[in-house]
Symmetry: C2
Subunit: 437 residues, 2 copies
Amino acid sequence: MKPLRSSFPLSALSLALACAALTAGTAHAQNLDAAAEVKRVLASPVFKSAAATIDKEHERIVEEGIKLTEIPAPPFGEKARAEEFAKMLQAAGLSDVQIDPEGNVLGLRKGTRSDGKVVVVSAHLDTVFPAGTDVKVKRQGTKLYAPGIGDDTLSLAVLLGFVRAMKEAGVNTRDDILFVGTVGEEGPGDLRGVRYLFTKGAYKDKIKSFFSVESGDVNRVTNGGVGSKRYRITFSGPGGHSYGAFGSVNPMFAQAQAAAEFSRILVPAKPKTTYSIGLIGGGTSVNSIPVSSWMEVDMRSESVDELKRLEDRMLKIMQEAAEGENFARSTTNAKITVETKLIGDRPAGNTDMKAEIVQIATAAIEAGGYKPDYNWSSTDSNMPMNLGIPALTIGRGDVGKSGRSHSLDEWTDVEKGPMVKAMTTSLSIVLTATGME
Amino acid sequence: MKPLRSSFPLSALSLALACAALTAGTAHAQNLDAAAEVKRVLASPVFKSAAATIDKEHERIVEEGIKLTEIPAPPFGEKARAEEFAKMLQAAGLSDVQIDPEGNVLGLRKGTRSDGKVVVVSAHLDTVFPAGTDVKVKRQGTKLYAPGIGDDTLSLAVLLGFVRAMKEAGVNTRDDILFVGTVGEEGPGDLRGVRYLFTKGAYKDKIKSFFSVESGDVNRVTNGGVGSKRYRITFSGPGGHSYGAFGSVNPMFAQAQAAAEFSRILVPAKPKTTYSIGLIGGGTSVNSIPVSSWMEVDMRSESVDELKRLEDRMLKIMQEAAEGENFARSTTNAKITVETKLIGDRPAGNTDMKAEIVQIATAAIEAGGYKPDYNWSSTDSNMPMNLGIPALTIGRGDVGKSGRSHSLDEWTDVEKGPMVKAMTTSLSIVLTATGME
């Protein structure tokens, strides 16, 4: 999960939604009294039994979270953790467990009145931390410290807790539920797991709604997916001696011109659209005209159209800057060329506030005694939102019980009372949305 | 020695000289018939005896060159080579040998009618190659391959050969000669050895003229010293999340604006003045506004005034770009600041074509049967030239007998006939200039 802190009041959010190009889930919004449904689920003896199992198993869930956290899962290195999670999912009671070709772990739990589609309940396997990071969990009282513990590894254990609780309580749902551990949610993974799930995997046209269970507070509902495009731009030229070859084209001059022009693009505040240059490099010595120069740019938007507009302008600027340098200095030895390589592509989208799953989440969070907080972020839910499939990223922890995600001192508080309450609230969202009987 | 290939015909050189701010050696140009003096020296039995010693010792000079080449001497790491060279200089017959506080090796040879000043005959101890480079010399026929063999290590052995030849032949000179092995001639050394010699050392106000014996062809006379200034410019700011903190100042945008403006400076073709950006860097990840961004710029000129004009404009541009960014984006968290650090400062200067040492070098080269080739470059001679002290960088090898300087496959050909002839020509320049009796 990208720790984006933009938290909107509802009115601003509505405006943003009005501007956004893609809005998922409006078709499902009509026929449900979400508050009544949540109330029914919470009052049912079966749900109470499931909640009791979670309470009883609290320490086991924590232990399994620790176990999974201590299996490193850097971007593109999730295999060992995936294999362990697959085993645990099977042990928790799902018979149909597999690892798909991309590396996602899939475990199916059949519904009683399935329409042939599934509701996905997922958490992500990967962390941002590179191979070699010390992932040993340190416990101080009820707080656990470890890279990736909160984002998102403990959520995998929470899914296992959900599966066992549903089994022990004999929960029946209308819908088939596909429990998923995704690969590649974090930066360089570029949503490869969820992308595969929706565009290539066995369930690609069979997912009716999507929940990503994340590290955050249970009252936090991420119903907007900020899209992003990232490029590595490389300017190349002939190079040469800084004195002897003076007057020859310099890729760093082209890049500077491009970056300066890029910095002048006006973007809307709503739908929020942003850009940055985060990394630059190039050259071999101060006394040589460099052979190449590069920069990595990041562009994001709540709106598909605004992101496209920004991307198009950026790409045009790069070409123009190369061309400008070729007219400003000598190209006798060679011209400046520019290569634009897409290194990140997260689609934008959102789930309408009126969508059934947003209403259910809102009602369940309120019933749990929390105040819903709607957010835009960049998570696995971006992918289904972009495809128009209702999706939410929901929290599984009590408010304020985790922090420092993406840093080496990441922590999460597993104090029993608040953790069980938050988990039970998350479970009530899932079971209401899947039509618990 | 910087391998600058700008070789001027005489008329262009004269024009350049007319424009240059500092011109050394005009005061010495009147009372000498250089051709006649060279002729007298070459015809003298003493000189012939010295030349015969060089011929006899050819293999020994080569062996000593190999020995010194195989002692690594990276920038700021010349000590071991300096100590060995000091011993060898003493063994060659100089009684007053010392290593000065900067690391230069100094060996004095008294003249018969000294005016209390010295003529410096130097070569540089350092190479461009970092510690750990394989400096083992490979011999193929008469060609020696090794990093630094030509530039400038073999010249140290040539100085030893000169000292022994002068001793054996009983050469008397009017002037005291100070034989010097300098540290820090190459890039990062920034002329620290010769700078110390002229501005702080025991001989600082006692040097009347200066010869740097270099790797190049004996017909090549470097009488122009290209000045250079190098800066590392660092832009710093608050940093932040590329999405969450969008709108905040970005040091890479400030740097881009600065670099683009820098690229637009018009400089004169004569006196040749150049600028470049050779290295850039900064940032930690594509999705963060960087905390800092840097670039290294190189500026050079044959003219002190033009170099100063360029430097002043560059420094102003950097400040303006930081200020511009602070007005273009939010400085709520912090402003962009810019640090400009001087990392290289080679003074410009030249020795007038009419100066005695240029006339002597010209006559001696022509007497050797070569065609003089006058150049501007960046060598130890820059320092005295800038101070108005007559200085030349001269070659010690036959034409076309060395190459690939500053590269790992650097080579020099030590074939006896051409090498002895070139060395003898170099010696005739030195002995004519120091008033051989």
